[in-house]
């Protein structure tokens, strides 16, 4: 659907913001772009939107060059929401629908009704842009982008400025809407909840890409075993493991090798278990680990 091929962007001052970036966004996929501040995420988005020209490389939308695109293909929500201050929210939304020529489109109105209900927009739709909070402005930008029913929705840190409840509502909507979304984020939870595929960007280069299962860091994370037994466990049995503070007899054991943990459980069969839980490394932890590595 969207194909970015070997895109490099060098600014006139010589700064290389993007370095041979290639990525693909397929239909109905939510693709995340993660990276520290200044990694080149916004520059890449500006090139996708056609505001900046790649120094080398191509950006193709359904096989066509951006220059040949006749109509707005993207819905876009910038990181910092900026809307017209001297119009009401209702007017802004109506303006968008009229420009997009979907004033009488049932699907657009259904989406809009859904968004109105999710974000309680009725309460403040007659307020002017200058009267709204940052979070409300962000919601307005999201509504404006989504009600256009774009082929690809581009979100620059979508839940930045939103409260926890609104964030979750947005995530649920995006997941259920089956829209094609390309987003940037620093929010581990957001990436793990939303993204089908992730690209990590560092100093303008993609340093990792993959889906949830392909993230190598998942395998580097320890398996966590929590046990509580009536009897005292001999120390030699636990020598090979990292153990955290035990309180009330609850012992937390970490190991990167799941087989070692399973052998340990086997050797503890004769003990009387009061509690046992086995926690595999999850996607959130893996993302966190990657981000910590890159953000340092």
């Amino acid at each position: 659907m969207l194909s970015i091929n070997e895109v490099t962007k060098v600014f006139p001052n010589g700064k290389k913001a993007n370095d041979s970036i290639s990525l693909q966004i397929e239909s109905d996929q939510i693709v995340g772009l993660v990276g520290p501040n200044g990694a080149g995420k916004t520059t890449l988005i500006r090139q996708i939107l056609g505001l900046l020209k790649p120094t080398t490389g191509t950006i193709l939308v359904e096989g066509n060059d951006l220059v040949r695109m006749k109509d707005n293909y993207f819905g876009y929500v910038p990181q910092t929401p900026l809307v017209f201050q001297s119009h009401t929210i209702r007017e802004l939304i109506q303006y968008t629908l009229k420009l997009k020529k979907v004033m009488d489109n049932k699907k657009a109105h259904n989406i809009l009704n859904q968004l109105y209900s999710i974000f309680n927009i009725n309460k403040w739709e007659n307020m002017y842009g200058y009267q709204l909070s940052g979070g409300q402005l962000k919601i307005v930008m999201l509504v404006i982008a989504i009600c256009q029913m774009p082929s690809i929705l581009i979100l620059d840190e979508p839940s930045n400025m939103l409260d926890v409840v609104t964030k979750k509502k947005l995530w649920q909507f995006l997941k259920e809407s089956k829209m094609t979304v390309f987003l940037t984020s620093h929010d581990i939870k957001e990436i793990s909840v939303l993204c089908d595929y992730i690209y990590f960007l560092q100093e303008g280069k993609i340093v990792f890409k993959g889906n949830k299962q392909e993230i190598p860091q998942v395998n580097q994370l320890p398996v966590t075993l929590k046990i509580k037994v009536k009897e005292k466990i001999p120390e030699e049995l636990l020598n090979n493991f990292i153990i955290s503070d035990s309180r009330d007899g609850l012992i937390t054991i970490f190991s990167k090798d799941i087989n070692e943990i399973l052998i340990l459980i086997g050797s503890l069969r004769r003990y009387t278990f009061e509690y046992l839980s086995l926690i595999a490394p999850d996607f959130d932890n893996a993302i966190e680990l990657i981000m910590e590595e890159f953000y340092e």
Partner: protein
């Protein structure tokens, strides 16, 4: 066309918030200024017409160079371009909607001044030519305003420079003072604008063909630059 119409309506709606400011800048200040000009002519028809034609060009300078120029400069700010990227509208439609909106915005002043010119001069006006020359002046100055908006891409710099430029144009053009023709005035396109207006109401004698050639040539050059900029897709790239 529909998008352009919607964009113009949208611009006009934005004026609601500034209604007091607009009432002052659109009616009270210019019309009271025009009254002061007329009171100072002592009833002299020739001087009144001379100053009123100067007033028409001065109003257009203020609107296009200052206001339109600033609006276009603001449009070229990265964050504003990003904001517009969220709406299904092309930048050339937005820029054109600004141009038409500000032309409509200044029109009441021009109409009032034209009516007074008509009343004072009675039958000596070539109306068709006068309207044509007003439109030619509007096109020249609006092109100039849009061009300057693109040149001063930093809105904060433009806020200082464009009003100053407006004032310099007023200063170097014989709008409110008499001046003998010289090369200095000949190269100033605003001098050609006011000269054509005065010619159409019988105030100015002499050859005007070169003024038309000069203004039309300038319009072509400005249109070339403006189109080159607006038709370009990559608006955040360094321009010109």
């Amino acid at each position: 066309m529909n998008r352009l119409f919607q964009a113009i309506l949208f611009e006009f709606r934005a004026f609601r918030v500034f209604k007091i400011q607009i009432l002052i800048s659109l009616f009270i200040m210019p019309l009271s200024y025009m009254l002061i000009i007329l009171l100072n002519t002592g009833g002299n028809q020739q001087i009144s017409l001379y100053l009123l034609t100067g007033f028409v060009v001065a109003s257009l300078i203020g609107t296009y160079v200052s206001l339109l120029g600033l609006r276009v400069s603001n449009l070229m700010m990265p964050e504003v371009l990003e904001m517009y990227a969220a709406f299904p509208i092309k930048m050339r439609t937005v820029a054109l909607s600004y141009l038409i909106t500000y032309s409509l915005y200044v029109l009441p002043q021009i109409i009032v001044a034209s009516i007074i010119i008509a009343v004072i001069s009675l039958s000596s006006i070539a109306w068709g030519l006068f309207v044509f020359n007003v439109i030619l002046t509007m096109i020249t100055l609006s092109g100039f305003g849009v061009f300057l908006g693109f040149v001063f891409k930093n809105y904060f710099v433009a806020q200082g420079v464009l009003p100053l430029l407006s004032w310099i144009f007023l200063f170097i053009t014989p709008l409110y003072y008499q001046a003998k023709s010289s090369i200095f005035f000949s190269i100033n396109p605003l001098n050609s604008c006011v000269k054509l207006l005065r010619h159409s109401i019988g105030l100015c004698e002499g050859v005007i063909i070169w003024d038309y050639v000069y203004l039309i040539g300038l319009i072509i050059i400005l249109s070339f630059f403006v189109n080159r900029k607006l038709l370009r897709l990559y608006l955040l790239e360094k321009r010109f």
